[in-house]
Amino acid sequence: MKIYKEGDTGKALCETCEGLVDTIYQVRDLPLSDGSGEAKDVLAIVCSSCDTVCGIPHQSLPLVQKAVSESKRQAVESRVPVQVDDILNVACQKLAALPDFRSSLVRYYAKKLATGAFPVEQLKTLLGDDVVTGRSIRRVSVKGGTVRSDFEVIKAATHLSSTDCLKAITVKIKDDIVDGHNEQALNELQTIVAIS
């Protein structure tokens, strides 16, 4: 197996330059596609013309895997009824955001609840809403930021499970965003979408 080092050169396809380009191997921090973190100090294959990262050599794969794995450990993962997941997707549409924004959306609410900006006591009442009942068959993963620790704060205050916290948050998202009853949250989230 060929092992590359910083400064080595090669060829790759560059999306920015739209063709086959000369490349140089450089150490870079590479973001994860879901915004949940980055792989640090990865030897990457970089376009010599425009500085775009075109890829990684196989030797860098373990470092990338470690970053993805660490990001997963920081995640809140639950199985929920399909409509809970659908509500998150519809809320993203309402905010003119891509479905990938779901994590940011839940993170926003988790932070507001954990810091007391939204009353955490309401979650138990919200959880009684019929809209979140049903078989839990779809997996939802919320990653990034301090979502895990925020959920721990919410769980300690409410004695609810992570899944029930997520369901209750989804009811609030439906009320605030999908049904448009919380103009302030709507405006703040639209700003976040616009700058992200």
């Binding site: 197996m1 060929k2 396809l13 596609s33 990338v64 895997q65 993805v68």
Partner: protein
């Protein structure tokens, strides 16, 4: 576009895997749904899937962003999982675009 076709593309990608002549595409960030990046499969499992693939599991076509670059695709069910593997060659290496389920 010069066309390699299934048998030659399969032989070449297996050789590249065996020789470690592999790169992984980034556009421009790390696709967390790529099973290799998510550590849900190993490169040896990918090798096995490609090795077992037959001609009717294979498609090729021109890269949608890079005219003249032949992209090879294997879409198959192997060991109870659905696989979708895409790659191209930049001599002498294989560039994996994605390994998805």
């Amino acid at each position: 576009m010069d066309v390699l076709g299934f048998k030659k593309a399969k032989r070449m990608v297996l050789e590249c895997i065996d020789n470690g002549a592999i790169n992984h595409e980034m556009r421009p960030d790390i696709d967390v749904k790529n099973l290799l990046f998510a550590e849900e499969v190993t490169i040896q499992e990918v090798r096995e899937v490609i090795l077992r693939a037959r001609g009717n599991d294979y498609e090729n076509g021109e890269h949608h962003k890079f005219p003249g670059v032949e992209v090879h695709k294997i879409k198959t069910n192997s060991q109870g999982r659905d696989w979708y593997i895409k790659w191209y060659f930049i001599d002498p290496d294989t560039w994996f675009i994605s390994v998805h389920e």
